[in-house]
């Protein structure tokens, strides 16, 4: 394995959980709901994935469990914010507190146990090609899923009728309601999709990134995912760019350190955050693009007036 290949593989690993969580949250926000509980859903996904894989010996079942765990958490959020009209920001933050605690409780039995690793796919011939073989054709299913989700989401949002309805609900729920669409139903489905994606992101952490369970192992990645949605100005293709930009800068700063560059390590560690801000400033100078993509009803509760 040459240096470049290894570097790219490391960047893919660092970026995938961010991408998975961010693409889910993007759909949620496009429907007009702000769920700040990504970190909480992600960590419950991580512990569910680890636990089920550990008990059954099947990482794939772990992935499925994480998906359902993420959805379960998001349903809790959905009932509170969509049915009971609770404040979305506060509910999302409470979801994070709950998720961190719950995962810690569930995970107490898994301390010091190495996990099952999600196997990389091996496609005959293709996987053995030089360079592209390892980078493009030998990833695990979650990496492919993350890319597929970006493409699928793009297609769904901008090329299908359902996507149009979802965006309409996010942009103007009153009109969408007047046209006869069930705002609550659309939003609920979007929230559940977001939960599923966050669960998968958690599964990636505890099955592929570092196959182990430790308390708080998401280490703030849910927050980064939230920021990336904003960074992307709610466009799926830009989430892809943002996640990989963030992942690449995080990894490159380690390489710079290992090469013995004489800069304070704190500055190096702050690089991904600085880079994201700077790129966002450059992007946001195109005001019309940002404006047209921001869901106008983001974070606002919808009450049907019949």
């Amino acid at each position: 394995m040459n240096g470049f290949e290894a570097l790219v593989l490391t960047i893919i690993t660092a970026s995938t959980p961010l991408l998975l969580a961010a693409i889910g949250e993007l759909v949620v926000e496009r429907s007009g709901v702000l769920n700040l509980g990504v970190e909480g859903m992600m960590i419950v996904g991580a512990v569910a994935a680890f636990g089920v894989a550990h008990v059954t010996g099947s990482p794939l079942l772990g992935v499925v469990a994480a998906l359902f765990a993420g959805v379960a958490m998001s349903v809790l959020f959905g009932v509170l914010t969509l049915n009971l009209m609770a404040n979305q920001v506060a509910t999302g933050l409470a979801l994070t507190i709950l998720g961190l605690g719950l995962s810690g409780m569930i995970g107490e039995g898994f301390i010091g146990e190495p996990g099952q690793r999600l196997a990389a796919l091996h496609i005959p011939v293709l996987s053995d090609l030089p360079l592209v073989g390892s980078i493009v054709f030998s990833q695990d299913i979650l990496v492919y899923a993350s890319i597929a989700l970006v493409i699928g989401t793009y297609h769904f949002l901008f090329r299908t009728r359902s996507g149009l309805i979802l965006r309409a609900v996010g942009d103007n729920h009153t009109s969408a309601h007047a046209l006869g669409y069930s705002v609550i139903k659309v939003r609920f489905l979007a929230v559940m999709f977001g939960g599923a994606c966050a669960g998968l992101a958690g599964a990636y952490l505890s099955l592929a990134y570092t196959p182990q369970w430790v308390e708080g192992m998401t280490a703030g990645r849910g927050w980064i995912a939230l920021a990336l949605v904003v960074f992307a100005s709610w466009r799926p293709n830009r989430v892809l760019i943002g996640a990989y930009l963030f992942g690449a800068v995080s990894i490159l700063q380690f390489h710079a350190q290992a090469a013995g560059i004489g800069v304070p390590s704190q500055l190096m560690s702050a690089m991904p955050y600085l880079a994201t801000i700077i790129v966002l400033i450059i992007i946001s100078r195109n005001v019309t693009l940002t404006k047209t993509n921001t869901p106008a009803c983001l974070g606002k509760a919808f009450v049907p007036d019949r």
Binding site: L76, L80, N83, L84, M85, A86, N87, V89, A90, T91, L93, A94, L95, I97, L98, G99, L100, G101, L102, G104, M105, E108, S162, I165, L179, G180, Y181, S182, K185, V186, L189, E215, W223, L226, A227, V230, F231, S233, P264, Q266, L267, S269, A270, Y273, L274, T276, I277, L280, I281, S284, R285, V287, T290, V303, D305
Partner: protein, 363 residues
């Protein structure tokens, strides 16, 4: 038959009182189930959580110490949120306030006397305002979304603090351990009582009253609310959109900055790599739990403070883990938020009726 929510014409005063009580009641029931499941006597657990912290002066004072920064930051944030500015970086502004305020006790520790502490507090406020002005500037100048910038600046502020206490601001007599020197008596926050309670509580109270007054009695308060709800109408009324962005960011930055320096000089007594258990983030919950109303925020801050102090008490007296505590805390928050619905909405039973637009409902 199904349940629907119907918006009330006005807030239900009855429910404003009943809802928190109902929420606490429901949390107690749900919590008891959980405690039984993990093998803890629910009566003892609830006593440890809610009663024991209120039975001694020491823990009442500790409750104030814990709640004061939450209330102070949340009150500032409420101005932001009411005017529709999404400042979620109070944690960074808190950190910057602590750093700026600490310039005096760390670099100019010879500067003592009665003016030293007020100077530190002003520096702290300026530090928080400086850090909050970055997202404000980027938003007004380039239209950059403040959610991302304010959040990213949290991490950057923490790295700056980390760099300082491990590098240039390290205690010269501290064997190169990552801590600043301990602050002189003149650089320590004025104390109230003989425990750890300090003047920070007064700042929080003043902030609550001042912001309550501003929001309800002044034209500025009106401006904030109008610009938050219908910015277009506000602009017709001659209010400046950029002005309100700057105003709300600076005020919340100043409050968070003061909270930062007060915490460092009052409770900790030096700069260390970690100075906050996430006060800036928890304050966001406090702000919304208090319904963005300063008086509500005061109570919400105390409730959250109580759940932390009580959780710790439960760890010691019952050997519960801190995981149980945060699950219980999460449940409590959920119930409070859910029950608040009753203040604005009525629950009604309705019979299903044939809808004319049924075809449209398929999505």
């Amino acid at each position: 038959m199904r349940l629907v929510l119907e918006k009330r014409a006005e807030h239900s005063r009855l429910m404003t009182v009943v809802s928190p009580l109902l929420a606490i009641g429901l949390s107690l029931i749900a919590g008891s189930i959980m405690f039984v499941m993990i093998g803890v006597n629910p009566a003892e657990a609830i006593y440890a959580f809610f009663i024991e912290p209120l039975t001694s002066t020491w823990s009442l004072e500790e409750l104030v110490v814990k709640s004061a920064p939450l209330v102070l930051i949340a009150v500032g944030l409420s101005v932001c949120f009411l005017s529709n500015n999404w400042n979620i970086g109070a944690e960074g502004q808190f950190t910057m306030g602590a750093i700026f305020g600490s310039i005096i006790p760390v670099l100019f520790h010879g500067f003592t006397g009665p003016l030293a502490l007020p100077a530190m507090i002003i520096m702290g406020a300026l530090g928080g305002m400086f850090w909050a002005s970055i997202p404000a500037f980027l938003k007004t100048r380039f239209g950059t979304n403040e959610i991302l910038t304010s959040l990213m600046l949290v991490y950057i502020a923490q790295y700056i603090l980390d760099y300082l206490v491990r590098g240039p601001w390290r205690d010269p007599d501290g064997f190169n351990f990552p801590e600043s020197r301990l602050y002189e008596a003149d650089h320590t926050m004025w104390m109230l009582g003989d425990g750890r309670m300090h003047f920070g509580a007064i700042f929080a109270l003043v902030a609550v009253i001042a912001v309550w007054f501003m929001l309800t009695k002044t034209i500025k308060g009106f401006e904030i609310k109008v610009m938050g709800q219908t910015p277009r109408a506000g602009q017709f009324a001659g209010f400046s959109r950029k002005g309100i962005v700057w105003f709300s960011f600076l005020i919340s930055g100043a409050f968070a900055g003061i909270a930062g320096i007060v915490e460092v000089s009052g409770t900790i007594g030096q700069l260390t790599p970690v100075i906050s258990p996430g006060y800036g983030f928890t304050a966001i919950i406090v702000a919304f739990l208090g319904r963005l109303n300063p008086i509500g925020i005061l109570f919400a801050g105390l409730l959250l403070g109580l759940s932390y102090i009580g959780g710790e008490a439960a760890q010691v007296t019952l050997g519960m883990t801190d995981k149980t505590t945060s699950v219980f805390q999460g449940m409590l928050l959920f119930f409070v938020l859910a029950c608040d619905t009753l203040i604005l909405y009525k629950v009604r039973l309705v019979k299903p009726q044939p809808t004319a637009g049924g075809a449209h409902e398929r999505v």
